[in-house]
Every structure is written in structure tokens, then in C-alpha cells.
């Protein structure tokens, strides 16, 4: 019997990594696989949903903030219609001369009545309830309190019934709620990532226990920790890739359908929450992240366990 030349060359090459299909072949597929692709699919689908929701909320919040940042409303709260109209005209004239005001519009009475119709009905509400005159202001900069205070001072003499408020102030609680929902989505993604990693950790430990004899043999034949970890990584990689793809398809379809539902509401605020192409790219990174997380979790679990044996 002569020394196999193949082995001589391998020894000369040094410790070549034992990986790929041959290495994966060492573990019975079903033992490591099991429900793992489904667990990862569910995790990815939920993460895509949470991330999609979070991104939509972020877009909505950004757009609302952008729209409202330089906007303010002047209300002329005066019961006498003639006085109200006069003060509205005076206020518009004064404000249009001010450098801080980019544009303004006296909201037509019909449109104000239209806005109030759901609450006051259609039978000439102005006859029963005094309705303030409204002026929409678009400022050159943000509608901060200093600017508004200066404008109030300007109007104080000739339009004493005028009240000026930043539009963002009205929506502040809504924007705050949207921001909270965004953080909640982020927290949910974190929890899902943690749960997914924990599931992979459990699966890897279970697979290590089930395949302990095989691992010990590879170990005693001179296999190193990295080689053994690669066997598990490859197995979990296949599971995670299948689960991740499936989960992304399910999650993305759900996000897309929900987007269609919301866009059908035809609401200005909700319409601002649509997803951009960059958002879809971010969602596409979810399954990639899941695969990386699963493979790294499996690797560190296996290496940590192997370090306990000689």
C-alpha cells in the first residue's frame, strides 16, 4: 500500500477548507431543516410588513411636516359679517406687504362652508353660527413662533379679530402619534430579528445535539471548528434563503395590497404614505439581512458549542 498521492498534495497545500456540497452532505438534511424555512419565512414576512408600515409612516410624517412647516392660518373671529370681511381684506393687504409671507389666499366663503358641512349641515350655516373668515398663508420660512408673534402684532390694530396659528401646531399630536408608531415598528423589527436569531440558535443547538456523533468523528479526524461550522452554515443558508424569499414575497404582497387599500381612501394625509422605489429596495434587504443573521447566528452557536470540547 502506498501513500495516496492525493493526500500528499493536500498536506502540501495545508489545511484546505472542507466545505460545499461534500461538507453539507455530512448532515442529514431533514434533521437540520425541519420547520426552519417556515419559521424564517414567517419572521421575514412580519418584518417586511413592519418595515413597510414604518417606512410608509415615515414618508407620511415627512410629507406632512414638509407641507405644513411654512404654513399658517389666519382666522378672523368676528360675529359681524361686514366687520369680518373688512378685517379679512385689511389683514390680507397688510400681510401681502410683509417679506415673510410668500403667498396668501382668502379662503372663499363657499369652501369654508363646504369644509364645515359635515358638522353644520347645508342650510346656510352662516345664518345660525358665525363662521370665521380664513386666510391661508405660505411663509418663506418655517412658521415659527417669533414670526407668528410679529405678524400678530402687525394685525393687532387694523384686524383685531385676527388669530394666527401655525398649521403644524394642529397636526402636532398626529405627527407625534405617527412618530410613535414608527418607533413601534422599529422595535417590532428588532424583536422579530431577536426571535429569528433565537429560533436559529435553538435549531443549531438541536442539530448539534442530534449530529453530535458525526461532529465528534469529523473533529477527531482532524476537522477544525471552522470546517464544522461551515457544514451548519451551509445547511442554515439554504433554509434561510428559501424561507427569506418566501417571506419576502408574502410580506411584499401584503404591503402592496395594503398600499392599494389606503390609496383607495383618497385621503391627502394617507396618500402621502406611499412607498418609494428606495423603500422597496430597503424591504428587499430584509430577507438578505435575515439570511446573514441566520448564518451568523448558526456559526457563532456552533463555534461556541465546539469550544467546549477539546
Amino acid at each position: 500500500m502506498t501513500k495516496p498521492p492525493a493526500l500528499t498534495r493536500a498536506v502540501e497545500r495545508g489545511l484546505a477548507p472542507f466545505r460545499g456540497r461534500r461538507a453539507a452532505h455530512l448532515l442529514p438534511r431533514a434533521r437540520l431543516g425541519g420547520p426552519m424555512p417556515w419559521v424564517i419565512a414567517i419572521m421575514v414576512a412580519l418584518t417586511v410588513l413592519a418595515a413597510g408600515g414604518g417606512l410608509a409612516l415615515d414618508n407620511l410624517s415627512d410629507r406632512a411636516r414638509g407641507d405644513l412647516a411654512g404654513s399658517a392660518t389666519v382666522q378672523i373671529v368676528e360675529a359681524d359679517p361686514r366687520q369680518r370681511d373688512r378685517q379679512a381684506q385689511e389683514a390680507a393687504a397688510i400681510l401681502s406687504q410683509d417679506g415673510a409671507v410668500e403667498e396668501l389666499e382668502i379662503v372663499p366663503q363657499e369652501r369654508v362652508e363646504q369644509l364645515l358641512e359635515p358638522w353644520l349641515g347645508i342650510d346656510n350655516p352662516q345664518d345660525t353660527v358665525p363662521i370665521p373668515a380664513l386666510i391661508d398663508l405660505r411663509l418663506t420660512d418655517d412658521a415659527d413662533e417669533t414670526t407668528l408673534e410679529r405678524l400678530r402684532h402687525l394685525l393687532a390694530e387694523r384686524a383685531p379679530a385676527a388669530r394666527i396659528d401655525a398649521q403644524a401646531q394642529w397636526l402636532a399630536p398626529v405627527l407625534s402619534a405617527l412618530s410613535a408608531l414608527g418607533w413601534a415598528a422599529l422595535g417590532l423589527i428588532g424583536l422579530l430579528a431577536f426571535t429569528g436569531a433565537a429560533a436559529v440558535w435553538l435549531a443549531a443547538r438541536n442539530a448539534l445535539g442530534t449530529n453530535r456523533d458525526t461532529i465528534e468523528i469529523v473533529h477527531l479526524l482532524g476537522g477544525n471548528d471552522d470546517q464544522i461550522a461551515r457544514i451548519f452554515q451551509r445547511s442554515i443558508l439554504a433554509d434561510a434563503a428559501v424561507g427569506g424569499t418566501l417571506g419576502f414575497v408574502i410580506g411584499a404582497a401584503a404591503v402592496w395590497l395594503m398600499g392599494l387599500q389606503f390609496s383607495a381612501l383618497d385621503s391627502g394625509l394617507v396618500a402621502g404614505g406611499g412607498l418609494q422605489m428606495s423603500d422597496w429596495l430597503v424591504l428587499a434587504l430584509v430577507p438578505v439581512g435575515a439570511v446573514v443573521l441566520a448564518v451568523l447566528t448558526a456559526r457563532f452557536t456552533v463555534l461556541a458549542t465546539l469550544r467546549k470540547i477539546l
Binding site: 500500500m1 502506498t2 501513500k3 495516496p4 498521492p5 492525493a6 493526500l7 498534495r9 493536500a10 498536506v11 497545500r13 489545511l15 484546505a16 477548507p17 472542507f18 461534500r22 461538507a23 452532505h25 455530512l26 442529514p28 456523533d213 458525526t214 465528534e216 468523528i217 469529523v218 473533529h219 477527531l220 479526524l221 482532524g222 476537522g223 477544525n224 471548528d225 470546517q227 469550544r307 477539546l310
Partner: protein, 239 residues
Amino acid sequence: MAEDEIVQFDNVGLRYGTDREVLSNVSFTLFPGRFYFLTGASGAGKTSLLKLLYLAQRPSRGAIRMFGTDVITLPRDRLPAYRRRMGVVFQDFRLVDHLSAFDNVALPLRVAGVREADLQAPVADMLEWVGLAQRADARPATLSGGEQQRVAIARAVIGRPDMLVADEPTGNVDPEMALKLIRLFEALNRLGTTVVVATHDVHLLRKVPDSLIMRLDKGMLADPTGALRYPPRRVGAGT
């Protein structure tokens, strides 16, 4: 330690947990190219001593040098390189259940990074040699005890190790196959491989006239003359 000493145990002791020592003050030297039998009654500590030899266990005390290196203090990530220089036949075979006989025998070569194309012929030759060419695709569960043992032996010697460690390698085979396996070990030994065979079969000892016998008794190595610890040099041994 001279360079040509392959293994040196110096006052090695081994205990599992807080139990009494299963090996006490074991000291011996193994030279390359020699054939050693390790004997002793059941429970004498043969398997424990072999575990220390094939680096599956660290001793509780004492010093062990293998291939010129202190393997006690060696970082564990450097141990695989030393394990690859050894072939091991386990008492319970320890074949991988879901792999065929061929894949089991090929395993050390694959672990060592041998290309698939390069291992086909050596593995087929080895299976032919142990009389299992026709059972290359069989799983261990479908092989008899003797066939499993031959696969285990083929796996241990396929990589032409520097040292072969075999724990009761003839325990499950008929006398004819036992003799054939011993002849295989001798052939390997003639090529320079140090062979250590643990056995309680005293008849086997007579089959290899040049062999050295290490006898364990209740965890102690019987070496009244110190010949195992300080063996006389054999001119040209292992070279």
C-alpha cells in the same frame, strides 16, 4: 525528547471529574515505525490511554509530547493538524450512519481537503483491500459487525497516518479476518507508521513478533524495567 520520538508520556494522570484516577503516573515513549500492543483487563484504562493518544482528551496532570510538540499547552485550534497525522479505529467503529461505506472511508481525505477526483481511486483500492469493494454503497446499518469494523479500519489507514491507534480492532471479526487486519497493520507499520493496538486477545500478541507490549493494570503501566519509558534505540527505526 529526541526528534525521532513520536510520543512521550511523562507521569500522566487522568481522572474524570472528581472520581479516582483512571490512569496514574503513566510514562512511556513511542518510536516511529514500531508496533505496540496495549493490553490489560477490561477497565484497566486502555481506552482512556488511547483517548489521550488520539487527542480526544487532555490529561489531568503530567506531560505529553507528540511529534515533537507539547500537546498539553498547545492551543486547541492547532490540535486538528496533529489529529490528521493519526488514524484511529474506535472500539465502537463510530461510522457516520447516513454515509455509505465509500463516503465513510473517504471522510479523512475530504476533511484534509483532497479533491474529489483524487480520492476516488485510493478509497476504491482501500475498500478492495479490506474486501468491501462490492459494499461501497452500503450504509453502515446494512453491514455486519465485521464489515463495519473493516470500514472503520479502512477509514483509519486511508490517509497513511504517521501513527495508527486501534482500540480492539479485531473484536468483531473472525480469526481469519483478524489475522488479515493485523497483516494490514504490519504492512502499514513497515511503511513507517507507528501502530498502537489495544487488545485483550493474548493470541494476537504472538502474531507480530517484533511488537512491544504495554500492559495496563488498574490505570498503572506495568514497566518494571523502565524499558517503555527509556526504550533502547533501534538502529534505523522509523527512518
